[in-house]
């Protein structure tokens, strides 16, 4: 399952600071745990989260083991122009999710 919940204000005034919330389903397996029979459970985490606003990178986060499952990332940016915010999560085992949200700036 690769589903994400994104909360971006639909409208904003130019120059306004907007808050963006993202939540993505991911187990974030640390790689340090062992199963009941002692075998190491392989690491499976999201390693990178990037948000671009009309093609310009506005936020980037590197994720590491010990970050909880289903990472919830909240950040802010300045509303400059109407357009699209693109969110990308990439991680172990070829995990790659891309979502986008539109914003109208007036």
């Amino acid at each position: 399952m690769a589903s994400a919940l994104i909360n971006v204000p639909e409208r904003a005034r130019r120059g306004e600071i907007i808050e963006i919330k993202t939540l993505i389903a991911h187990p974030m397996e640390t790689g340090y745990r062992r199963s009941q029979v002692g075998a190491r459970i392989p690491r499976d985490i999201i390693r990178l989260f990037v948000c671009t606003y009309n093609g310009t990178e506005v936020f980037r986060a590197e994720l590491h083991p010990a970050i909880a499952a289903n990472p919830f990332i909240v950040f802010s940016t300045v509303a400059t122009d109407s357009g699209t915010l693109v969110f990308q999560w990439t991680g172990d085992n070829g995990f790659a999710v891309r979502e986008s949200a539109a914003i109208v700036v007036e």
Partner: protein, 258 residues
């Protein structure tokens, strides 16, 4: 003389605490009221509540055709937002075919095996939790409307008896903590009143969604009792009693709990 009166009063107070009994309706509080500001905010915001990830997935499963008959939930039930409204608020409900109450999870699985001709989903599997969360979400904001009909009474009584029965190596009954000592602390945590208003819940400790039966098994392990198996009649009876005990309280599913 004074010490005697004091001792008697003390003994009376102890006796009163020991037979505190059921919580009066006006004093009932959801687990939500015992949580901190941050976790409440997480539950209240649908884009911050991780339980909504399962609700979303359940919505996708709702319309996916499955089983030998190639039918989806939506083919019979239509739009869950209208057809499933209030359903979680009246489960466990009496199932005439089985002659006993069934939980929401069991109802969903019965629909799968009988109507869709599909294999039953495993307890606590992603799919079953997602479908349960999706159905339960449609009752959010509605009061728990459990009106046990006559055939339910023996099961309700059995659940009530289980709630008040001392169990496990610690020899504790559910009621000793949740009826008599709610609001006090167990280690660092506040003891809630054990009203199942938000199931399935996203528990931060689990880092995932879990059913009421998972929570009950968790509590049984906590008092060092042998937990009943998932779907065991004893657990469904206990669920039934807990829902009846919380009748009239508002459904919050999917709730977030520490």
């Amino acid at each position: 003389m004074r010490t005697t009166v004091g001792a008697v009063l003390g003994a009376l107070a102890l006796a009163a605490a020991a037979v505190a009994g059921e919580i009066p309706t006006a004093e009932r509080r959801s687990g939500y009221d015992f949580m901190g500001r941050e976790i409440r905010a997480m539950q209240d915001d649908d884009t911050a509540n991780p339980g909504m990830l399962w609700v979303l997935e359940g919505g996708a499963l709702w319309t996916r055709k499955t089983g030998a008959d190639g039918k989806a939930c939506a083919d019979c039930h239509g739009d869950a937002r209208t057809s499933m409204k209030g359903v979680a608020a009246r489960h466990p409900a009496f199932d005439a075919a089985r002659g006993r109450p069934v939980s929401l999870e069991q109802r969903i699985n019965a629909c799968r095996t009988d109507r869709q001709q599909a294999p039953a989903l495993a307890w606590e599997s992603r799919e079953l939790l997602a479908l349960t969360a999706h159905v339960a979400r449609q009752s959010r904001g509605l009061p728990i409307a459990l009106a046990p009909e006559a055939p339910m009474q023996p099961f309700l009584d059995a659940g009530r008896a289980a709630f008040h029965r001392r169990q496990g190596q610690l020899n504790l009954a559910c009621s000793q903590c949740h009826d008599d000592l709610w609001g006090r602390k167990l280690a660092g945590n506040v003891i809630p009143q054990a009203h199942p208003t938000g199931y399935p819940i996203y528990r931060l400790e689990w880092q995932g969604l879990g059913s009421l039966q998972r929570r009950l098994r968790n509590c049984l392990v906590g008092i060092r009792a042998e937990p009943y198996a998932y779907g065991a009649p004893e657990l469904v009876d206990l669920e039934l009693y807990l829902m009846w005990r919380a009748r009239g309280m508002i459904i919050e599913a999917p709730a977030v709990r520490p």
